[in-house]
Structure formats: structure tokens, C-alpha cells
Symmetry: C2
Subunit: 243 residues, 2 copies
Amino acid sequence: MKYQLYYWPHIQGRGEFIRLALEEGAAGYVDVARLPEGEGGGRPAVQRLLEQAGDGRTPFAPPILRAGKLLISQTANILQYLGPRLGLAPKAEAARLWAHQLQLTLADLVVEAHDTHHPVAKSLYYEEQKPEALRRAADFKALRVPKFLGYFERVLASNPGGDRFLVGKSLSYVDLSAFQVIAGLLYAFPRTLAGLQGKHPRLMALRRRVMERPRVAAYLASPRRIPFNDRGIFRHYPELDEA
Amino acid sequence: MKYQLYYWPHIQGRGEFIRLALEEGAAGYVDVARLPEGEGGGRPAVQRLLEQAGDGRTPFAPPILRAGKLLISQTANILQYLGPRLGLAPKAEAARLWAHQLQLTLADLVVEAHDTHHPVAKSLYYEEQKPEALRRAADFKALRVPKFLGYFERVLASNPGGDRFLVGKSLSYVDLSAFQVIAGLLYAFPRTLAGLQGKHPRLMALRRRVMERPRVAAYLASPRRIPFNDRGIFRHYPELDEA
């Protein structure tokens, strides 16, 4: 199966959770919107898909995965689909439900990370909602990041399969996504994370292990990995990271 | 199978999406936290579950469903599990992925509806974030509600199974959840919705059809249905609904 990923070409965004799974799973895929517009790529490739009348299954937003005749959207939904096919999900139903729950909880954290710089409206620039962002970021750093990271640290600590993976005894898409979230938080809130790393040794070790995996390392070093920037979900605005 | 639902006993909240599926599916279930504390209910019943060390699969937040040995959390995840068991999900994988995508999109709308009154922090009262709430609600009403409702209206209009259901030719948990979201928006933003209803006839008809189903109607008329109030996700603050 050769997959086609449709996601905005200039940011990691939510597409990155899919890219990481496809890369670690050694899947054949085309990151369609990163092709030149003349070759059917660019933002128009995503927009066309969102505007199609299609068969009544038009996605609401990217990321969108095309797998043969299937068109799948919503990040956690795509990962749930890809996981078993790429050897990145547990086999038993109970473990799959658990993996999906963890993924959805990471997705909740991602929304909250995004909203630190856009607490009022996606339709406005950060600069138009900076006072609100300062307040929201303060709460995010003081309460929400510790709550989420504390939770995932406990999940690792209490995993019957050991603390090297979030689910069971081998790597799953959830570990890849946890790596991405921690990488994003380290980029956006380095000062805050510096104060928290010591409390979450298992989670920080997980991040390192994931980024050192040969396929992930090769991907991160390649031009396929879009750098963090100030248009994505995780943005480094020093004033939001300050005490 | 007799299910146990764990959710805060004083609000509809995210638990309501599960309650509606259990009710329409005629499932045997106990809404545990609505039992008296002396009988193992109340908020402590939920809190105990969140604090248990357990088998390493402790949920992050309610709603939580206990199904035999399984403990499942995250609303969309629970519905994905319950759907096929209660006759409220399509059979084919492609249709199930589509239903789950729609459910996750409804969940995104639910977060945005909540954040109109809590744009800064869950840890603060509404009154402590009112200026921010006014700004966020303005954007929500002007751009986000029309975008989401327009999307679901198109989904109904282009459903090959007809415009009476969001997925296929029969009722699914997604229809129940769509009813709940529209009911919530009508409660929280009556003025805004009055201006939008004419543009979404299929969605408004879906809401009516769902609430007229015998089991749903019986549930809504029973004391099991907690009324909307000013502690839940959908809150009616007139100032947020004004033009």
C-alpha cells in the first residue's frame, strides 16, 4: 500500500504525528502538499480535497490520509488505522483502546498548547491576542503541563510491559506522538520544561529513545522534517515561556 | 453486559454523549456517580478511579466506562467501543472510520464551545475571564459555529444513505452526539442559533428526529437527564450570546 498524506506543507502541525508513524513504519508515502504546485502539490492540493463534493465523506480538516479508496481524517483516527498496518499498535482490543485513549489525551494537550498563543481566535494573529495569551500560557505552564506530563510519566511507570514504552512491550504510534509533543514543548517552552524534566525521567528518556531510532533519526535529519517555526502548533514566544 | 459509567454527577458534560448511546441502545448500565455517596456514588466514585494505581491503565479524565474487565476513557473512544455493541455503528470498516472522524470533529466543536466561557483557564471561574470570554465567543459565533454546522449540514446533504442520518442509512452514535451538540448550542447561544437554523434545515431536522425517538424522548423526560446548567460545557451567559 502506498499512502498519500495531505497536510499543510509549511508546518509540522498535526500532520507530523502521521509523518512520524509513516517514517518509523517504513511505509511508502507521498507527502502530497510538499510537492510543487505544478506537480499537484502545495496548499491547493489540500484545499481541493476539502472542497470536493466526493462521496459524502469529505474531511473537515487535514491531516487526511488516502489509503487506496479510503480517505481518513482526524489525527488519532488515522493513527488508529495505520498502527496495526505498520506494526505500530498492539494486537489485543483492550490494548488498542488503551493506545487510542492515550493518543486522544495527547491530542487534548496539543489543542491546549496551540491555544496558549491563540486563546481568542484562530482567525486572528498572535499579536492580536497577546494579553490573553500571556494569561492562558501562565495557567498552561503552572497547571496543565505538569498535569499532562505527570500523567504520562505515571503511565510509563505503571506499564506492566515496562517503562520503555507507553503501551505494552514494544514501540507504538503513541510513543512516536509522545516524542513529538515533548519535542514541541521543549521548543516552545524551554524554560518551563527545564524546570520539569527532572520530575519526568521516564518521559524524557522515551523522547531520547524515540529520536535515536534509526528511521526516526534519519527522518529528523532529512529535509522531509520541517523545522519548528512560528506558524505551527508549538511556537516559541519567549514572553509566553517566562516566569 | 451491564456497563458502569463514571462521570461527574452534576452536569451533562462529556458523559452525556455516553448516556445517550446507552439509553438509545437500551443497555443495562449504572451511572455510578449519581448513586448516593453512601452507596459508592458521588464525585468520590470518579475520583477513586482516577487515583487508582490499577494495572497501569488509569484514565486521565472522565467519562470512563467499565465493561467487564475493560476500563475505557475518552468520549469518542468509548462510543467507538459501544457503537457496534449497541447497534449504533455501521458494520464496514470504512464507515466506522468515517463515523469516528465525525465524532472527533464534534468533540473539537465541544472543546471550542467550552472555551467560549473558559478561554484562559479551567482553573479559574468564568467571572475571572469574562473579557477574554467575550472576545472568544464573538469569534466562535461569527466563524466557528457556522463552519462546523455548515460542515455537518453538508455531510447530511451528501450522505449516499440519505439526509436523515449522518452515517449510512440508520441511526448511529454520531447522530445522538450531533443532537446533543445542537441542543447544547441552542441552550447556550439561542440568539446565535436562531440566526443560523434556517441555513441548516437537515441538521435541525436531525435534532428533532433524535429527540422524538421513543427511548431518547423517555430519557430526556426522566430524572436521569440532568438539566443544562451553568457548570457544564454548554452555559447560557446572555452577554456571550449577544451581537
